[in-house]
């Protein structure tokens, strides 16, 4: 089952969601960010090099040029290795656990696996970010000493976007108790509590 609709994140960039069902109790959701645009790269490199040439023109020192090249290269490598996220995925395996992984543009992957015994619940949490309220999906982890307390909250799809907002949908209010379709987990994985999920047209 593959779904590819257009969503945007809280800063307006387009992202895409891909759901793959490996079996009835194993599903993988992938959120992909847009790739690095060649226009932006060219603009940045040209501006840096123009500045370097201007500095060289003034100071007549070739070290300025070499340092500009070095800075551009190092900056680009740093950006694709540490900053630019290509896609984030969530692999849900029934009765084993949840695996969250983010993969960067350079191919580096960071993976975390959360065991079923540590998961208390998966909820949609709301937060106030500047002038808007954003909703994000997060996993509540159990505290080992107290079974009823929540030890930590792990937001999912953290690096790429906090939430995807459906475009071109009229004001739609979910009735209490209704579960959105993408989160159709089997009962033994836990209930999803959807609180106040109003999606508005920006």
């Amino acid at each position: 089952m593959m779904e590819d609709e257009t969503f945007t994140d809280i800063s307006g960039k387009t992202i895409s969601l891909d759901c793959q069902s490996h079996s009835s109790f194993c599903r993988e959701f992938t959120v992909s960010s847009p790739k690095v645009s060649i226009g932006k790269v060219m603009v940045y490199t040209c501006s840096v090099w123009l500045l370097a040439y201007a500095a060289f023109f003034i100071t007549q020192n070739t070290a300025v040029l070499s340092s500009a090249i070095l800075i551009t290269l190092v900056g680009m490598m740093f950006h694709i290795h540490f900053v630019k996220v290509d896609h984030e995925s969530l692999l849900v395996i029934g009765s084993l656990g949840i695996q969250v992984s983010s993969s960067y543009a350079s191919g580096r992957e960071i993976t975390t696996f959360i065991e079923m015994s540590k998961i208390k619940d998966i909820v949609i949490n709301e937060a106030i970010y500047m002038h808007q309220i954003i909703y994000y999906l997060c996993v509540l982890l159990k505290d080992p000493s107290e079974p009823n307390a929540v030890s930590s909250v792990v937001p999912l799809f953290q690096v790429s976007q906090r939430l995807w907002v459906e475009e071109e949908v009229e004001v739609c209010r979910l009735r209490p108790g209704v579960i959105p379709s993408v989160l159709n987990f089997p009962a033994h994985l836990g209930r999803v509590r959807a609180r106040k999920t109003t999606t508005k047209q920006p």
Binding site: H22, S23, S24, F25, F113, E115
Partner: protein, 601 residues
Amino acid sequence: MVLKIFFPQCCNRADSGLLVGRWISGHDSAVVLAVIHYPFIPGQVKQYVQQMQAQSGVELSVLGSWSLPKEGQEGMESFLRDLSTIFPQQRWLQIRRQMGKTGFTCEVLNRDQNGIAAQRTVKKEKKEEEEDGDGDAEEKEEEEEEEEEKVIFVHYEQRKVMLSQLHPIESGDAKTDPPSELRQVFQTVALSQPLFFLDKYDDGPLKSTHWQSEGREASIIVELLKQASVPLCLLLSWLLSVWTWICSVRIFNFYPLRFLSTKLSTCVQLSYRTEHMKTLSSPKPAASHTQFMRKANMLVSVLVDVALGVLLMLWLYRDDHITMLANTLVPAADHVAKELDQLLQWLMGAPAGLKMNRALDQVLGRFFLYHIHLWISYIHLMSPFIEGILWYGGLSACLGLSFALSLLSDMVALFTFHIYCFYVYGARLYCLKIYGLSSLWRLFRGKKWNVLRQRVDSCSYDLDQLFIGTLLFTILLFLLPTTALYYLVFTLLRLVVVLFQGVLHLSVDFINSFPLFAVGLRICRSYRLAEGVKFRVLCDEPGVALHLLMEINPLKVSTVVQTYQTPTYSCYPRDSWLALVKKLFVGELIYPWRHKTTKAD
């Protein structure tokens, strides 16, 4: 419920036979450890499994049967199915694989209380065969669809899981909850070492397949080191006992020497390293993973330290570097003394345009000048011996680079002792002045410090008390700039020296505490230190059970350093920045690099 079977990758191509492993209670999962091949005698298999259980302490049992039919082995399947009656199990797994196909098929035979075996099939083809009834078809379809994909095969690499250690490390005693499923899987594989001793070339009655079935692997160097370590440990412990006997000789317990030995960082480093060597020289092997890592880190740190020290020695003792150093040391000390001289002359004049109190200025200045003169004469007296001292001191580098650095720090402390003295004089004077001023200021306002209640109370003074108090207050107030300036100058000098010593101490601390072995292990054998696992879906064809590959997720390097740091003797800095500035302002003496073990002297 979903049944999870942890299957080793080495057994993917094993010949047909019996599966030996462990059921993990409470989580509905099974760990397969080895496959015992046909032909076997069931009685011998039972005996072998019991023997292994006793040796390893893991609840081993025969889980089921594995069949990978090759040519000429047609009757195997029925034979293996009949075996379920011989081995009494609650559940019997029958795993089948066809050569050339990727997926496994699994049948689970359940034995309920009546002893009747109810069969639940997992193959899709079987479901299609039974789809003939009308009214029952949908129900059966649903039931079988429910039961259809309820087995997950998790493939793991046996050797890596056996050697790996999950973090955070749980100590055995403080266990409130049973360990999680993954932890139990890791523990099971790690504890089942006796099971992996039989290999393909043994002539026993049973042939099994596991990660070592191609023949036992071992490294000659490791074995040789293990053999050599016992006499080495004995030698080391003997040497250490001789050393501790020397150290505990009565003459060293006299007060001045004892006090000195806690102040000199070389002695502290020496005692610290002696502790380490005592831990290393114990002949018992390490009981737990943490102890093993600690011992290994200590050993590697000592070896690297000694190697760096020997390198330093090689550099020092060739090309007459020592003579060069000695020849620059005395002129450098002279230069410092001359600079201090000039500084004091400047202070005695009108420093930075400030007008000092002439008399106090002259007194303080002359006092400090005489002190410097004494010091310089002392240095000149010592100058013929400096080269000898440096030569013998350089020999201490063979004990390790940390010793050389601590010796350097001690020598710097000794050579700048006069700056320390000046700082103490200036600070004490300033401190006295500040306290006097604050007390007389309270008197000026008609208040008093109540020692009993630890607060400021009002008080009525007599006239002569007030008169003398005000007089003293004025004197102290107008002498304040002079004292404050001297205090400022010497505090700055002292801080420069403290900074330099601090850098040396930090590097010694770094050499002592950095877990080189753990970081090396993380880089070269990253599966040994595991933070968790990661899963990858191997094959998800509809109708075949789900196959996942479990790989080990290694620990981050920063977490490795944090977990395996060797504790050292210094805790720094003792005060926060605010407290330090406050102390400086009031005039209290500061000791920013106080060692953890020293009591309040």
